[in-house]
Amino acid sequence: MMGVCLTALLSHWWRNPIQLFAYLAGLALATALWSGVQAINAEARASYDAAAGLLDDGQFDQLLPRQGTSIPQEVYIALRRAGWVVSPVIEGRLGKLRLLGIDPVTAPRGLGPGGPARLLSLEAGAGDRLFMAQSTAQGVDVDVAVTIDAGIAPGMAIADIGVTQRLLKRNDLSRLIILPQQPLGRVELAQIAPELRLQPAQQTADIGQLTDSFHLNLSAFGLLSFAVGLFIVHSTIGLAFEQRRGMIRTLRSLGVPLRGLITLIAVEMMLLAAVGAVAGVVAGYLIAGLLLPDVAATLRGLYGADIAGTIQLRRSWWLSGLLIALLGTAVALTGRLWQIAHMPLLASVRPRAWVMATDARFRLQSRGAVILLAGALVLALLGQGLVGGFALLGCLLIGAALILPKLAAVVITMFERNARSPLWQWFWADTKQQLPGLSLALMALLLAVSANIGVSTMVSSFRLTFVGFLDQRLAPELFVQVETAAQSAEVQAFLDKNATEVLPLLKTRARTVGPPTELYGVQVGPTYRENWVFLDAGRAPWDTVAAGLGAVVNEQFARRAGLWVGDRVAIDGDTTLPIAAVVGDYGNPSGQIVVSAQLLQTFHPGVIPMQFGVRTQNTLALRQSLQDTLGIPANAIVNQAAIKALSMQVFERTFTVTAALNALTLLVAGFAILMSLLTLADLRVPQLAPVWALGITRRYLGRLEVLRALALAAVVFVCAVPLGLALAWVLLSIINVEAFGWRLPMYLFPAEYLRLGVYSLGAALLAALWPALRLMRTPPSALLKVFANER
């Protein structure tokens, strides 16, 4: 009995394979992007955890050299013998491998999950061993044994300090971790090792926190496409149920119990949903694999975070992808099943009932839209934080999407009133009548197009600002990096004679509380005065800085610290200076304070310039003579152009992911339109038949169908432009400030929007073409049957 019922139910899909495809593909699409994005996020988080867990520099105070990167091993012994309970760390690069050497005997216990002891249980002979992740081990060629440990961050290897020194061919140390428990009567640091400075533990800004905003961004995109996918599923389920009303009535009339029927339908739909969701998870895995390299590059460029290069099947994301897809389907299903349960046994079969626009539904939608848009306004005025920003985005987008059908109806009514010929009047009236059936697809298109406009406005604004910023900041023609104090003095002397202007740069970590902040000492000269463009400045900011009476800070720092021009900023411990100016500093995760070189040296006497910007008329000749005369290695001298190219490369990769996700959402929206039109096509035959009978050819009707799709897409696009710009504003002025610490000026790109307009019309055209072709090929007999079949 049940078998027969099931066959009857399934026969619906037999007869409507396109609907079946729409159902499965909608779910697959919804699940794919969502689980893909979650897979990327999960991978990144695992990488951060591995990095943070193994050697979380932030959680301990440390001793660092004031100058350079090296601490002689004797200094370590001297400190221990003077009562400093410190543990040595050496870091270096071996090709692409980042090597970290620790001493497990003295390392603090809290170092990592299981601690270094787990790695370096110093059994006899075990010292000669590198520990690294599986992905890192592939393609590593070292002459010591490698032990795979999944807990280690990608690109990194950990070993005993002795092994590391040998591999790096060094006999010094990089830094010393100060253990929490220190004994009484410790000798002052200045007496033992004046060349070292104490870097306090950093409680804030771990890499996970820094990158949270980026992952939230990805999640938002994933959710957007999930929503669009569910639109498709929802409308397909609705259509399938309406079309099966007749069958359900027949089955029930034949005596199939209601409960059994409902169970059967639920099982059938959920099984199909599971197929779609599994396909979606597989697609998500593939998408994640494709996007991951760019995501990795972005995270490295923006935050200096290393993540693994391969996606692992983690239960966290594939299970959540499946569950959310099934849950979404179940929600869409419940309403329909409830309807069946309450449908009178012999209710009249009206296949178009669900399509017939009820004003009530539109009114309800519009009311919801108004509430959401009002919410968006409130959030824009009062909202705070990244979550507030995304909530604003959500309210804005969903509100706009909900109000779209109403808006489109108004526009179409306007056209209808102005239509002269009866055919056009029919065209507009028929278009309006189709709105409910298409509204979900149109909403999807609106979301996709406005997201595209918003994001491309943001990216292009960012690009313009960034290029301008690079020109300001990279005014010097050459940059020279030196290794030692002697070299520094030599280069300074040489450049004083041979260059137009020398810009020595002194760099150290600011000794202030809060997130890591770089303290720069500069020689104020014409280059700084002419090129740096401030976001805001007091009077004669460079004079103030040169006199040691003020500091220039970057925007990130100013916003994080809640300070602005005129406020006092802590330069060193309790010493504060007024902020002379705030400067835009894009693409840089850390805060910066710029003071005069002389002032910096009063707080950090050991710091000397290790980097020089050089202004010169003759770049090539100066570069050559630096190499020949002073023996500076070629790779220590960088041309301005090379840095710019590198910076732009990082920038472009940063937005590759965004662009890819954008394209995918547009694709999903196009697919939604196609599916809606296809499923509607058969239902529309009864409406088209009379028009055909009045003498309009099938070919002409087909053209009108295409035109209708284009007209609707055009309406959507017109609505999408202001929505997209609002979106861009939120991204630039709210999300960016929260996520990265900089506010970007917004530029408009009409040509770009026009191009997008063409794309979306193109998507609509492509989507309408197939249904139109089918219409053109509908046999006249089918159209005639409309009049023959009494319904």
Binding site: I77, T106, A117, S121, E123, G127, L184, G185
Partner: protein, 346 residues
């Protein structure tokens, strides 16, 4: 005082050098083993023996302040080898660690240090004698007059030790058997130190003086596999005689004991195995375990029948290797002071 051997065996496997020490009781891969009839060569033998797996320089002292207040002090430097022999730099297989503690009737302070051998952070030189780890040190021109220093986060001490008697050799001329299976170590003591100096405590610096006992022991395979814990006593009676005795608890519930009677003149008499008897009287709950902090100690051969009670039952060494160690008072047939160490209580 091979209590520390038990310590290693029982507690170390769960800590840092887990793999290095698993199987300590059974395997002696490449390490030298103690042999009967040792001939010591001083001052060289005050220095390290890197071919043996473990070794220590162990000082305990019963102290008194000017007001008669009792204190206890412990300073121990341990050497443990991951492989026999020595190498320069980080390749050295030697690992050093040290414990220091001060006990008052009310409080117990303890601290520890760790170091790799081969890099100069820790080590022992025989002559002039110098044993150090970080800023902690036990050193002097020779083994008879030593300066002792340690610092923790909330305590410290600077002491001077002056030997008033000869070295004492345990077991058979310093060959000390630890089990019926024949496991053994080299073991000698200097129990005749006068000690004075200052304790640095949270309430201030306290000048103190008293008696100290220094143990030297090294071995490679000192314990049999079935030994689970250890109670070690060093007792100094008011009449000048001293008694070192230990119980090794075995997993079948039996014990193995050994002891040395030291006359006030410094003559050492090794007593027969199991002559020394100690029975727990009172248990004290600390760190989630039941620790006997009061004992009935009997040695019929010498007419000893005394109660040994902790000065502070909370003398718990809450370190990477946790154990109980603290000063004790002796009453009964004889009176005096001493030190008690207990390991392997879970």
């Amino acid at each position: 005082m091979n209590a520390k051997l038990v310590l290693f065996l029982l507690v170390f496997p769960v800590t840092l050098w887990a793999q290095g020490f698993s199987g300590l009781g059974a395997q002696v891969d490449g390490f030298a083993t103690p042999a009967p009839n040792p001939v010591f060569d001083f001052p060289e033998d005050h220095g390290p023996h890197p071919d043996f797996r473990i070794e220590w320089w162990y000082v305990t002292a019963n102290l008194q302040g000017a007001d008669g207040q009792d204190y206890g002090l412990q300073w121990t430097l341990f050497r443990t080898a991951l492989a026999p022999g020595e190498a320069a730099g980080w390749r050295s297989p030697q690992v050093w660690f040290a414990h220091a503690a001060v006990t008052t009737p009310k409080a117990h302070f303890a601290s520890e240090r760790f170091a790799r051998g081969g890099i100069g952070q820790a080590g022992v030189e025989a002559a002039p004698f110098h044993a150090w780890i970080d800023e902690w040190a036990l050193s002097g021109a020779d083994f008879d007059r030593l300066d002792l220093k340690a610092r923790g986060a909330d305590f410290g001490f600077d002491m001077t030790l002056d030997a008033l008697g000869p070295l004492v050799f345990h077991g058979a001329d310093g060959y000390s058997v630890k089990s019926r299976e024949g496991q053994a170590s080299y073991y000698y003591s200097q129990p005749f130190f006068d000690i004075e100096g200052k304790l640095i405590l949270p309430e201030g610096t306290v000048p103190v003086s008293g008696k100290a006992w220094l143990d030297r022991e090294w071995s490679s395979q000192p314990l049999s596999e079935n030994q689970t814990g250890w109670d070690w006593f060093s007792l100094s009676f008011d009449d000048g005689a001293k008694l070192m005795g230990f119980l090794l608890r075995q997993n079948d519930g039996t014990t193995f004991s050994a002891s040395t009677w030291i006359t006030s003149e410094g003559e050492a008499v090794t007593l027969p195995a199991d002559a020394f008897r100690a029975v727990a009287l009172e248990k004290h709950r600390i760190a989630g375990r039941e620790i006997p902090t009061s004992w009935q100690v009997t040695l019929p051969e010498r007419g000893i029948n005394v109660t040994v009670a902790a000065l502070n039952p909370n003398s718990w060494m809450d370190l990477s290797i946790p154990y109980w160690e603290g000063p004790v008072r002796i009453s009964g047939s004889h009176a005096g002071k001493g030190y008690l160490e207990m390991t392997g209580y879970e």
